[in-house]
């Protein structure tokens, strides 16, 4: 995108006032979306964003500037601004010679979405709308969204690294409202992968739509969720959110460096049930959080964080890895060229267990079964975390019975992790997610087999 000579000149300028490390991150993002709501194709939209972020490290300080002006003048102005911000006054010119590092993407694209006629995207929305409304007269409203994004990035740094990636993601989501005697309920389903329009060879949008509609209908019959501590069985797939919140964030090296996580200093210790092996893997082909290189130019890696319950390692970005004299684990990510990178998860999942999930349910006298989870949030300092349940049922005498209404569950990460007492053999990845941290959102995946926690606090309203 930017030629090598200009990248070298920019980096030389960036280190012109001292500084141990300088980096330029160039991004060209094109997105398109289509929205159907209230039986109308409301809008097709297209977006384009292009720019560069330049950072300079001096000691423990980072100077950062970004610009949408990718001309020589624009880049050099931003490089000076970043250098000024980090200034240590030692001066001296560092010459930067870049050598290209080629990478292989885990997610090759067959059909680039911009090569697909817009009319085809509109048709998918209509198909899904009709299918959802066909599920029952109680379905009173349907909204369907299609979106694709192509993100081309280029990264060069003063260590001589020059690399790039071309990341394509496509997603489809549907949400339904069902209207019944006791008010309205909602159902939602989304699919998304790091791939092109071939997503729709893998998924039939009418099936996705029916699933969302059925979920809303089921909830019309739901009774208030129990409140207090109950045995909780988390279904395969989306249950990965539990680990994302319960320990994922707590294993990010920036939290560790500031001692703002309950897991700091605990490498080598048993921090979870021996059933638990937790992996963060940016190389998982076509998953939502996959990439060839992270946003600092490091190749994606498969990192085992917890193995058989023992804490193996944290996740690292360049900044935190440098401070510890080790290598980045490929977890340096940023929302866009306007943001500084930080330690982020990619695809985080629990490795498969051995138990038949049906046996886990049959072995549970009373409790709840959470089939679909919503988002969550964690306080990494004390480990308390919450996540929402958007489809859940009572378990009575070893059987899944009535649906219950939405609510949050709350627990303490370190306590919940050690208490997991059953792990299924039905591993699956969940729906595409966006993880928010310090104001930046990045795409992440998560997954898990069915598992059981003996006591999680359910925030229902039933006395």
């Amino acid at each position: 995108m930017i030629d090598q000579a200009l990248l070298e000149k920019t980096l030389t300028t960036a280190t012109g006032r001292g500084g141990e490390f300088a980096e330029i991150f160039v991004e060209d993002r094109q997105s398109s979306g289509a929205l159907l709501d209230d039986d109308r194709i409301e809008e097709l939209s297209s977006g384009r964003s292009r720019g560069a972020g330049i950072r300079v490290l001096v000691g423990d300080s980072t100077g950062f500037a970004h610009t949408a002006d990718l001309t020589e003048r624009g880049l050099l102005t931003a490089a000076k601004a970043a250098a000024d911000a980090a200034r240590d006054g030692s001066g001296g010119v560092k010459t930067v010679d870049l050598s290209t590092q080629s990478v292989t993407t885990p997610s090759p694209v067959s059909i680039y979405p911009d090569s697909v006629a817009k009319q085809r995207k509109v048709e998918l929305l209509n198909l899904a709308n009709d299918a959802a409304r066909g599920v029952g007269d109680a379905i009173s409203q349907v909204s369907v969204g299609y979106g694709d994004v192509r993100r081309r990035i280029q990264i060069a740094n003063s260590d001589g690294l020059l690399t790039g990636d071309d990341q394509v993601k496509t997603r489809f989501s549907i949400s339904c409202v069902a209207n019944g005697d006791a008010g309205m309920q909602t159902g939602r389903e989304s699919v998304g992968h790091s791939m092109g329009f071939e997503l729709f060879d893998q998924y039939d949008v009418t099936e996705v739509a029916r699933k969302a509609a059925q979920r809303a209908l089921t909830k019309l019959l739901a009774r208030p969720a129990p409140s207090g501590e109950v045995t909780t069985v988390i279904g395969k797939g989306g249950g990965g959110v539990l680990f994302h919140e319960a320990c994922g964030h707590g294993l990010e090296a920036d939290h560790v460096a500031k001692q703002s996580t309950v897991f700091a200093g605990r490498v080598g210790e048993l921090v979870a049930s021996p059933l638990v092996t937790l992996i963060d893997d940016g190389t998982m082909a076509h998953e939502w959080g996959a990439f060839a290189i992270d946003d600092e130019g490091r190749p994606a890696q498969r990192n085992v964080l917890i193995e058989d319950g023992i804490l193996i390692d944290f996740m690292w970005d360049e900044l935190r890895a440098r401070a510890e004299g080790r290598a980045s684990s490929g977890n340096g990510r940023r929302q866009s060229y306007k943001h500084l990178p930080m330690v982020r998860m990619t695809n985080t999942y629990i490795a498969n267990g051995e138990t038949d999930p049906a046996d886990i349910i049959a072995d549970t006298d009373s409790g709840i079964f959470v089939a679909q989870l919503g988002g969550g949030q964690v306080n990494t300092v004390n480990g308390d975390f919450v996540f929402g349940m958007t489809e859940a049922y009572l378990i009575e005498n070893g059987e899944i019975t009535e649906p219950i209404r939405e609510g949050n569950l709350i627990g303490n990460g370190p306590e919940i992790l050690t208490s997991i007492d059953a792990l299924g053999n039905d591993f699956e990845m969940g729906s595409p997610g966006t993880c928010g941290k310090d104001g930046q959102g990045v795409p992440v995946g998560d997954g898990t087999p069915t598992l059981r926690v003996p006591a999680l606090t359910v925030g229902g309203t039933a006395a």
Partner: protein, 447 residues
């Protein structure tokens, strides 16, 4: 710079073909952000961002495109993308750009020149000073995890073929401190801030005290037993709930059958002490603004009046579709078409301070913070349950700290169960003001 934005908007709109309606939103923003840690600058960011969003309505179909650049070639291709997108929309007779509606803009003083004159070194000094006073404030402070200073100046215009030509400029700055208190097995985090249009008037003492108090007072927190009781929502918590309640009163939710209050205008939906107002013309509001996302003047709208549902908020599209008019509540950035939303909410305050409210409660909980609101509240069904922490109220006084529990009810019931509105209104850095709110019959789920 505002003149340049107008000029670009004018140029785009002038390209309209006969019968075509075009609206351009053009923005320019300058930010700096300083983060310090342990006496050093951890990061310093300076940046300028620009963008344009173009909406085209032709033959009663709408299309939209945006770009994060004001480069002429980019703007030109953005317009042609928007035109192309419009050919795929459904025919909708309700679609039209808004015309000026005669409501005059409030004159608000949203830009303070001093933000541009505030030296870089002063910004760093402020952040370092906040870190230092926070560290020394209480021996239980284990670590000041981060201290940020940020300021911004943003300018934007809306220009359309229907005679809209409106723009504005505002400035803002804030400092935040995040504190970890305690040690060993018992650590708690607290957050404090101060916000002002003039960075010279930021109140470091206030921010520091808030962060330290909110972290230290939770030390030793225990998980409470499950019960139904009265809670006092801290102003920051009330502010978050007001935002969710307001989303159920948006004309878009009503139009599309997603509002729990759709057919209830004129009916009692809340306790008589509740009067909910959206007033972006109040200069005290952090999100005060003179014009909405379609360029209409903002105005004071009373949504709930003494417990009775009085009004929904609208942009021009939802107003037209529901046979009423825009209430000046189009909300958007340059990268989206106008939605509908409130901009500066507040409850009309009561008389008593938080301590007096607490003094009237035998057994309850002061809710200091909530987590997982985005996953725990369903604004369509009204069900909510959210993670929380706070302090027990026993015999009219604050007692032991509590954590790892949830509070739950439905939005419908909660509005009716409000016992008292506090007099302690705070204009938070949010689109809703905060005050203490006493709510009965909330389910607390714990051990």
């Amino acid at each position: 710079m505002l003149d340049d934005l107008y000029a670009l908007g004018d140029r785009v709109v002038a390209l309209a073909k006969p019968g075509e309606q075009i609206e351009a939103v053009v923005v320019n923003e300058t930010d700096t952000e300083v983060r310090v840690f342990e006496g050093d600058v951890e990061s310093f960011t300076s940046a300028t961002s620009q963008g344009i969003g173009i909406r085209v309505i032709n033959d009663q179909r709408q299309g939209f495109a945006w770009a994060g650049s004001l480069d002429p070639a980019v703007v030109e291709s953005t317009l042609s993308e928007a035109r192309d997108n419009a050919t795929f929309g459904s025919i909708d007779t309700g679609l039209a750009l808004t015309e000026p509606d005669g409501v005059e803009q409030a004159e608000l003083d949203l830009y303070d020149e001093r933000v541009n004159q505030f030296a870089t070194d002063r910004k760093i000094e402020l952040a370092l000073e906040l870190e230092a006073i926070t560290k020394d404030r209480d021996p239980r402070v284990m670590l000041v995890e981060s201290v940020d200073f940020a300021d911004s100046v943003s300018e934007g215009v809306v220009v359309s073929t229907k005679g809209i030509r409106v723009g504005g400029r505002d400035s803002g700055s804030y400092v935040t401190a995040t504190v970890i208190a305690g040690g060993g097995d018992d650590t708690q985090v607290g957050f404090g801030y101060s916000v002002n249009r003039d960075p010279g008037q930021l109140d470091l003492e206030y921010a520091s005290k808030m962060a330290v108090e909110r972290s230290t007072r939770l030390l030793g927190a225990v998980k409470p037993p499950t019960e139904r009781l009265t809670v006092v929502l801290d102003p920051m918590v009330t502010s978050q709930f007001l935002g969710i309640i307001a989303s159920t009163l948006s004309g878009e939710a009503v139009l599309k059958g997603r509002s729990l209050f759709a057919d209830r205008l004129g009916e009692t939906v809340a306790a008589p002490t509740i009067t909910l107002v959206d007033d972006p013309t109040n200069p005290k509001a952090f999100t005060a603004t003179e014009a909405d996302g379609e360029g209409l003047a903002t105005r004071r709208n009373v949504l709930i009046d003494g417990g009775s549902l009085n009004k929904f908020v609208h942009n021009s599209y939802t107003g037209r579709r529901l046979n009423t008019a825009s209430t000046g509540n189009a909300v958007r950035g340059f990268s989206s078409t106008p939605g509908v939303g409130t901009m500066a909410l507040s409850l009309v305050p009561g008389k008593r301070a938080q301590a007096e409210l607490i003094a009237s409660i035998d057994n309850g909980v002061l809710i200091q913070g909530v987590s997982g609101l985005h996953s725990g509240v369903n604004p369509v069904s009204g069900d909510f349950s959210t993670g929380a922490d706070g302090l027990r109220i026993r015999n009219g006084e604050l007692a032991e700290p509590l954590r790892e529990f949830t509070i739950g009810s439905t939005l419908q019931r909660m509005l009716l169960d409000v016992i008292e509105v506090g007099g302690d209104i705070e204009w938070l850095p949010s689109s809703a003001a905060g005050l203490s709110l006493v709510v009965a019959d909330i389910t607390l789920s714990g051990a």
